[in-house]
């Protein structure tokens, strides 16, 4: 009896310590990403004037307008100090110009929008009651909108990125899909070695191949062109497509195709009528994988583009060239990372299957 309890205790201690370690690892991985997201929603004031940083950005900003003999004062509630602090111009009057400046300052520093009329109303209340407190809903996406407004060529870079990704998907899925089908359906000598060797092209870091790539693409007239970049990405993505689609096609029994051939289709018809519809989710996953690979790639893109950069290059340059405004950069980074994260979540089932058929 005593022994049983001891054993149980031992087991739960083992369990607990395992979970603690796992939670620690998860924390180390997740926390920076979480902070990235959190920062991207913060206003300048939150980013630079409050410490410690809140885990979750606030959804509104609280203000107070005060008045003394010199004129009006604007104060903002600082959560870390837990009191109202001076915000913006020390003193302002109720002239149209001052109010307009105040409105712009509030928008820029706290991501909150207020109209001039509203400020006038508040000032009138201050005149009669000596102080007024009010809160404004924060515009959470302000950083994102601002990023695309202020960073040079960001919208066009997104378009470039989408074009590169689209072409990469097209090339890698057609060629990789055909390769994958062959690996799934046919037996030939050296099949396994060949299947492994298609991964060899992924062994070389892009930087080490940068100069030859630039020269070759320039000779082809594809330097600084989305198509050129997508060709470079396709080299790596084709091998991944082969592996993913091969596992997809292998999961579809040959007899389904054979039945189609007996019941009236050609070989190609059997593929079209039976295999393709069944493989579609898997092929979509493979396409998404290519998308992620191409969307996230930055090193080759830095080397191979000049006036037509892709989005990650723009984000990278904004990060390198920026002085402060971290919240703005994080907004760009999140905009860059989000599609890849979403697609990864969608296709995770197929990625795991590819490496050994464990079902999630």
């Amino acid at each position: 009896m005593n022994n049983a309890i001891k054993r149980q205790l031992k087991r739960s201690a083992k369990r607990s310590s395992l979970y603690i370690v796992l939670a620690g690892i998860a924390f180390i991985i997740i926390f920076p990403i979480f902070f990235l997201f959190s920062f991207s929603f913060m206003s300048d004031y939150e980013t630079y004037s409050e410490w410690p940083k809140p885990l979750i950005p606030s959804f509104k900003a609280n203000f107070m307008i005060d008045k003394n003999s010199e004129g009006y004062h604007l104060l903002i509630f600082n959560k870390s100090e837990d009191k109202y602090m001076p915000f913006g111009p020390l003193v302002f009057t109720n002239s149209q110009e001052d109010i307009d400046n105040l409105r712009k300052f509030i928008k820029l520093q706290s991501n909150s929008k207020i109209t001039s009329q509203k400020i006038m109303e508040y000032l009138k209340i201050v005149d009669s009651k000596s102080r007024v407190e009010f809160s404004i809903k924060k515009d959470l996406l302000a950083n994102y909108i601002l990023f695309f407004q202020v960073v040079n060529g960001a919208p066009k870079a997104v378009l470039n990125s989408l074009m590169v990704a689209g072409a990469t998907i097209l090339i890698s899925l057609t060629i990789g899909g055909m390769g994958g089908y062959a690996f799934a359906r046919y037996f030939f000598k050296g099949k396994n070695i060949l299947k492994l060797s298609v991964l060899f092209v992924r062994m070389f870091p892009a930087v080490s191949l940068a100069i030859p790539m630039v020269i070759i693409l320039a000779k082809m007239g594809l330097y600084d062109q989305p198509l050129g970049l997508s060709l470079v990405y396709s080299v790596g993505q084709i091998s991944m497509s082969i592996w993913i689609t091969a596992s997809v096609f292998m999961a579809i029994p040959v007899s389904l195709e054979e039945a189609a051939m007996i019941f009236g289709t050609t070989r190609a018809g059997a593929f079209l009528h039976v295999t393709l519809p069944l493989a579609l989710p898997g092929l979509a996953a493979s396409a998404m994988y290519s998308f992620i690979g191409s969307w996230n790639e930055v090193i080759a893109a830095v080397v191979l583009t000049q006036f037509n950069p892709t989005f990650p290059v723009v984000v990278y340059k904004a990060l390198v060239g920026s002085q402060g405004q971290i919240n703005l950069i994080t907004a760009g980074s999140v905009a860059q990372a989000l599609p890849a994260i979403i697609f990864t979540l969608i296709i995770r089932k197929y990625i795991i299957q590819m490496w050994g058929g464990v079902k999630v």
């Binding site: 029994p253 007899s255 389904l256 051939m261 007996i262 019941f263 009236g264 009528h273 069944l278």
Partner: protein, 367 residues
């Protein structure tokens, strides 16, 4: 309907591996042929060659006298039921059955009529709107059957269609398949490794081994007149018992000497054993042809090892030093392990095989 002729066909997979070494077979119109053999004997390969899913290495396949050896499967006028059913999971039952009809450009009304008629025949009329994933194994089997029947094929191929079903359903489907065959009269080839399935369904059974035909014959032929020891040992549950005996020939009778017994038989009836004088031959006895007799009349006595009751009958295993002999006795017979029993043979139904070639020794006087 149709006749099928396989002339000297062979299939070679790699240099040394032959799927089918040599095969000649003529299937008559409306006939139900079963290809039977242990796994790896080439029966499925043969069927796939007939279907056109496997190229032949050598030989000719004639369907209704027309050479179909190099014709793609869709133009052969055949249909097939696969071992794993192979019904398309992304189509409803209706679409599965209608698939080939649509490709034949039949009108929608005709297709509907044909599908409903066929579905009713295999009793899945109410399942037409379902997807295969929502069906049980037996129902999927019926869908595969309906799909194959709907095309009204010249030749109907079935590749171990019942092997994925549970034992009880298998026996039911067996009966239904046979009834459907009687109804449609389609020339059919059925592949199986289950000899009781073959015996119960076939007009003729083709027994194969190592890529060659061992015997072609009616169920009675292969059971009572097994061509060689392989067939005698493959057909029947339990299979035949074999005794190596020495053949001593005198004018009046032949005495067959086994280490446990000596069996005297009439030399007139078994004249052909003359050339085996003094040599060793194999005596084959079906389990039901071993009889329990009073010890005074017994050819030999032995001790019962195990009794396996089967309900309708019992299987009794007897230990004879080097071999275990199995016999079938009626359910009423009272035996228990350890009993000493006297045994005799049903002389009319014993077989002899050449110990070298393993082939049956045929007697003019019958048996």
């Amino acid at each position: 309907m149709a006749t099928l002729e396989l002339i000297d066909i062979a299939k070679r997979f790699t240099k040394k591996v032959w799927g089918v070494k040599k095969m000649d077979l003529k299937v008559e119109d409306k006939e139900f042929i079963v290809l039977l053999g242990p796994s790896g004997c080439g029966k499925t390969t043969t069927m796939r060659m007939v279907a056109g899913l496997e190229e032949v290495t050598r030989g000719t396949i004639l369907l209704d006298g027309k050479d179909i050896t190099d014709i793609p499967p869709r133009d052969r006028g055949i249909s097939m039921v696969f071992q794993n059913y192979a019904i398309w999971p992304h189509m409803t039952v209706y679409e599965n059955i209608a698939f080939s009809l649509k490709l034949k450009k039949m009108s929608a009304a005709e297709i509907k009529e044909r599908v409903e008629e066929t579905a009713a025949m295999v009793k899945i009329g109410e399942l037409l709107k379902r997807l295969p994933g929502q069906l049980s194994g037996g129902q999927q089997q019926r869908v595969a059957l309906a799909r194959a029947l709907a095309v009204r094929p010249k030749l109907f191929l079935m590749d171990e269609p019942l092997s994925n079903l549970d034992a009880k359903l298998r026996v039911t489907m067996r009966t239904e398949l046979k009834a459907i065959h009687q109804q449609t009269n389609a020339t059919s080839i059925f592949v199986t490794h289950d000899q009781s399935e073959a015996m119960s369904m076939a007009d003729r059974i083709v027994i194969m081994k190592d890529g060659e035909i061992v015997q072609i014959g009616t169920p009675d032929d292969v059971y009572f007149r097994s061509a060689n020891m392989f067939v005698a040992g493959f057909i029947g549950t339990p299979p035949s018992n074999f005794f190596n005996v020495e053949c001593e020939y005198t004018k009046e009778n032949i005495s067959l000497k086994h280490s446990h017994f000596t069996l005297e038989i009439d030399s007139m009836k078994f004249q052909e054993l003359g050339k085996y004088r003094g040599k060793e031959i194999v005596l084959g006895v079906r389990p039901e042809d071993l009889l329990i007799v009073p010890e005074s009349k017994a050819v030999f006595t032995a001790e019962v090892l195990v009794v396996e009751p089967q309900g309708s009958h019992q299987v009794v295993a007897i230990n004879l030093k080097e071999i275990i002999v199995k016999m079938v006795v009626s359910a009423e017979t009272k035996v228990k392990p350890g009993d000493k029993i006297g045994l005799g043979f049903n002389i009319k139904r014993i077989h002899f095989f050449d110990s070298k070639t393993e082939n049956r020794i045929v007697f003019k006087g019958g048996v």
